[in-house]
């Protein structure tokens, strides 16, 4: 197995003591107390200068592959709300206002309501997980995310017996987000997962990457990361999480159902009318590499789909 998955951390997996103290010192010198306060900081316009995060347990999921440079992961993005070019989102990142931020949690949950970002994150220890990210456009990256399991969050709000799916919405702010002034897609951007996919321990909500607060163009302040699905499933800048009984509408699927399925599991065997999915270009590499089924996470997640025809439910 090329990556190591360690939900139960051993002592050696936790951030080395010295590094830990250095981070502490930095945080003190910056007069920032507690993760919530750091998260509340707006990520600065230049991607390289986004604020560091507080205490993060590293090594929760590691990957024995070279990480994509931060400049590439934060400079080459798809985030149509901030422009359709790959470099538009980083250029226009400061149009997205991430403070104050709250998330509405509703639908089939025992405890619905609106919750501030700080309250939402507070109970969850932050973990670093290094995941492959495979875009449907046949390029990929390796990114160290910081966040926590979506499942842990959902448990807090007590999914009801009728909950079958989870639906997510990105912020809708056409006044500020230039892309939303034009009907490229139907806004707000929506994504969804089946509840068992959402509860899978690999599925995470990220608040940072590379040890820092998420840059706006990467979906600050809160985004989904589902490493075995094409990148468009990993919705950015989430303001609403709804548990539903019916399969929710998702943006790209609604835009072109023949091209983008609801499941969108990385699958080299299912062709796409636009891109050959059998291989991918890892950003920073010249020759393409083979694409792995479920993006290399088959051992963990293939069981979610036993008995399903994945060429039909693509």
């Amino acid at each position: 197995m090329p990556f190591r998955w360690n939900p139960e951390l051993r002592p050696e997996d936790i951030t080395p003591e010295e590094l830990f103290r250095q981070r502490r010192r930095f945080m003190k010198s910056a007069a920032l107390v507690g993760v919530g306060a750091v998260l509340g900081m707006e990520s600065l316009e230049a991607a390289e200068t986004s604020a560091p995060l507080g205490e993060v347990r590293s090594g929760v999921v590691t990957l024995n592959e070279k990480q994509t440079p931060f400049a590439d992961a934060s400079g080459y993005c798809n985030f149509y709300e901030l422009g359709t070019g790959k470099e538009d989102p980083s250029r226009q990142a400061d149009r997205l206002v991430t403070k104050p931020w709250s998330v509405l949690i509703d639908g089939e949950v025992g405890r619905p309501g609106r919750i501030s970002l700080e309250e939402l994150i507070k109970p969850h220890p932050l973990e670093e997980r290094v995941y492959r990210m495979r875009c449907v456009e046949a390029w990929s990256m390796v990114i160290p995310w910081v966040g926590f399991s979506l499942g842990a969050l959902l448990q807090r709000f007590e999914p009801g017996p009728k909950a079958q799916y989870v639906s997510f919405e990105t912020i809708l702010d056409p006044e500020r987000l230039p892309g939303q002034k034009r009907d490229i897609l139907e806004w707000p951007y929506r994504e969804g997962l089946r509840l068992d996919e959402a509860m899978h321990p690999l599925t995470m909500l990220a608040v940072g990457m590379y040890g820092r607060v998420l840059p706006n163009q990467n979906g600050a302040p809160l985004r989904l990361v589902v490493p075995w699905k094409y990148g468009f499933k990993s919705i950015k800048s989430i303001v609403r999480i709804t548990l539903t009984e019916q399969q929710p509408v998702t943006s790209w699927n609604a835009h072109a159902p023949g091209e983008y399925g609801f499941y969108a599991n990385v699958n080299p065997a299912v062709s796409h009318p636009r891109w050959d999915q059998s291989r991918e270009r890892r950003i920073g590499e010249f020759l393409r590499r083979e694409t792995l089924p479920f993006n290399g996470y088959g051992e963990q997640v293939a069981g979610l789909y036993t008995g399903m025809d994945l060429t039909r439910f693509f």
């Binding site: 149509y80 359709t84 790959k86 390029w139 062709s271 636009r274 050959d276 270009r281």
Partner: protein
């Protein structure tokens, strides 16, 4: 006026120079292969539109000299299309003919792009004075292939787009104007 033509050639090489400089200085972003392919595709299209603009523009008083540059502009379009297609074959798929063949069969924007390219190549080959003389009056007929080729290029572009049709719309309107002008002038002349 060979001097002017040489100048246009040199201007035509500026985009390529810019690309090579970017490659050299590593300023082409996270995905330089994609950047290069798109850049050359854009320039192939732009030179093509400029080529098509010569005939209408030279009717303007004092612009008749423009005709001198028409073949040159067409060749520049083919040159960048060649770079574009080589970029796809060499940089994008590194001679993986199996993948390329599958792309041609399965991906309409590639199929249509190839058709456009196959129409443009003979125009480039027969652009020399010797071929002009050899083909005589057929030369003009052959070179009318630029019309279907330009429509196919537009189709290639539109089929490639995921969701944002803005730029393609602008080029589509320009192309429709350039081709529409020809239809109108034929009708006017024969009517």
């Amino acid at each position: 006026m060979v001097g002017w033509r040489r100048l246009v050639w040199l201007i035509g090489l500026i985009p390529l120079g810019w690309l090579l400089l970017g490659l050299w200085q590593n300023t082409l972003g996270a995905n330089p292969v994609e950047r290069m392919i798109r850049f050359c595709g854009d320039w192939a299209l732009w030179w093509l539109l400029m080529t098509l603009a010569v005939s209408p523009l030279r009717r303007l008083p004092g612009w008749s000299g423009l005709i001198r540059f028409r073949r040159l502009l067409g060749l520049l379009s083919l040159f960048y299309a060649l770079l574009h297609v080589s970029g796809y074959v060499v940089l994008d798929h590194f001679f993986s003919w199996e993948t390329i063949w599958r792309d041609i069969l399965k991906r309409p924007y590639i199929t249509v792009g190839l058709m456009a390219f196959l129409l443009l190549v003979p125009l480039g080959v027969t652009s020399t004075r010797a071929w002009m003389q050899r083909l005589g009056r057929h030369w003009g007929a052959l070179h009318r292939l630029i019309y279907p080729a330009s429509v196919l290029v537009m189709g290639h572009y539109v089929l490639m787009i995921k969701a944002d049709y803005r730029a393609a719309f602008v080029y589509g309107v320009i192309l429709a104007g350039l081709l529409g002008w020809r239809v109108v002038s034929v009708v006017v002349r024969s009517g």
